[in-house]
Symmetry: C2
Subunit: 354 residues, 2 copies
Amino acid sequence: MGSRSGTGTSVQGEPSERKAGMGKVGKRKGSARTGSGRAPAYTVGLDIGGTKILGALLDPEGEVVGTVRRTTVHGADGLVAGAAQAVRDVVASGGVELADVAGVGLGIPGIVDHRSGTVKHAVNLGVHDDELPLAELLSAELGGVPVVVENDLNVAAVGAAHVLERSADRAGGAHDHADLAFLALGTGLASGLVLEGQLRRGVSGAAGEIGHVPVDPLGPECPCGQRGCLERFASGKALEAAWPSRHGKPSPVELFEAARAGDQEAIVVKDRFASATASAVRLLVLTTDVRHVVLGGGVAQLGTELLDAVQDALREQAKVSPFLGSLRLAERVQLAPTHVPVAAVGAAVLGRRS
Amino acid sequence: MGSRSGTGTSVQGEPSERKAGMGKVGKRKGSARTGSGRAPAYTVGLDIGGTKILGALLDPEGEVVGTVRRTTVHGADGLVAGAAQAVRDVVASGGVELADVAGVGLGIPGIVDHRSGTVKHAVNLGVHDDELPLAELLSAELGGVPVVVENDLNVAAVGAAHVLERSADRAGGAHDHADLAFLALGTGLASGLVLEGQLRRGVSGAAGEIGHVPVDPLGPECPCGQRGCLERFASGKALEAAWPSRHGKPSPVELFEAARAGDQEAIVVKDRFASATASAVRLLVLTTDVRHVVLGGGVAQLGTELLDAVQDALREQAKVSPFLGSLRLAERVQLAPTHVPVAAVGAAVLGRRS
């Protein structure tokens, strides 16, 4: 809720005008696949979260050739300095230099204006009411490399699309542009959309905010002011309320363990959660009809156990409705890739397009 | 429900290979605005419904220069012959000839495969299980003019986008690609999506099928097999069930008249309907974040009285939620244009792109 924005003046071109010389770009071999006619170049993406920064370096072919993980330093100054260090570290880990980097993309929670490169209300990063010109500050810190800033869900969706497209390429199959929703089961519930290869932000940056679609008039109140929002049933917060941690592990892990051990109450809570998550998948397909729904966010670290439960719930829902059955929802769901930091990869992809 | 499809083999090129000579195209003056480099040409669109066919002729600039209305003849043969006659009539009404027509688009209910140009399960047109190769048959009937077939909601959305874009052009403002959902309050409830100027069909033709998103676990059963679908609250059928016609006028008209006259029961039913329709608008924006939601379909013939009621309901919902308030939903809603047959216009636009 309220984690996105899209208003403000356009100054996107500004950082690239101050861009450093591109002479060294592409000194490592490799051909550009973008077809844009531009010199091949590396890009860096950072996924900035409340506790950690994940970074990825993409080579000119879009392959991940370096990753990094750092602890997040809160507050504006720490954020910029930490991000700059993460960029330098991931560049070094890939054996290249900052001058080889054509662009940097950042994925960040809070209200992001991708056009002006600013962020505000990123409360768990120590960024409050004042607008922080993050793109400009980081670009200056990096000697002028262009920087773009994007909502954390959008970079995750773009990253998942990038990984899926490259897998399809490697499999040698017909290449379709990726078409997917990244369904983030984090503390809250929201999604990012890539439709036929294009990031769909929406006109006010609210595309994919399905967590606040009311699905039960008698449901619990939501902090957003409405009642019975989907997020109240399908999110990490909803799970924690229904099954608080008792043994020091994350609530989803304890719940699934208890269900596996045969605890009847846990089975009920787990099934209800799986069914609510299935409802989120159904909602995404009935509105956008995306080819894939990619499960991500903290709760998705449960892995195949979560996927199985959600697919079972989708098959259960389809049993009563031939219409739903025809949409083959269970087949559209998959887990987010875990072999790469997918949001950081997406940020790097957007850094390339800047 | 089940009114769309998108599978089947691609034979889209077939009709155009049999296309008649283009020599006469553009003999009336006018410059092409498509930027495609193709010769300027007229296109025809038909909106084929259960009782009537509406037709529109677009000139090379995209202006509506002829319209027609015919009674629908049911069954495959009657459908093709009636559509062909409607094309000839609308062409004549615009003072041009069939040879000036570069393409024909059809909007039709039922399961449409736009790639193969076939339709099935258009039960209220007398087309049942067998697949009807409508594009091919009509093209042959018209001497080879290319014909495309599209879902009726999709043509309505494209038509509304076309009209909005042209209004913006005339107003001389900054030209944005139209970004909208066409929300059809017909017998059922569904929508068509145009996102940044592009028709969004979805991978199985199900994009915009919001009528079958469940919004109340205790709601009435839906013929689709689920319970509490949005269509059970916001559609012509829902209105008729809640307020059956008593005086020979359509149920929505009688309901709104009774509410205006102060009938307390009618006011409750009307408010509930407006609130459910507002929920459909909210759902569309929270998923796709479209700039405009255009109200169409039979119920929208109520006009400004409906628009006012829906906008009031949206403002009411926003009162409890600053988050919803920030999305300015009431400002996004408008009535479908009535000065042109908007679905037929959309069909003609798609006929041009074929």
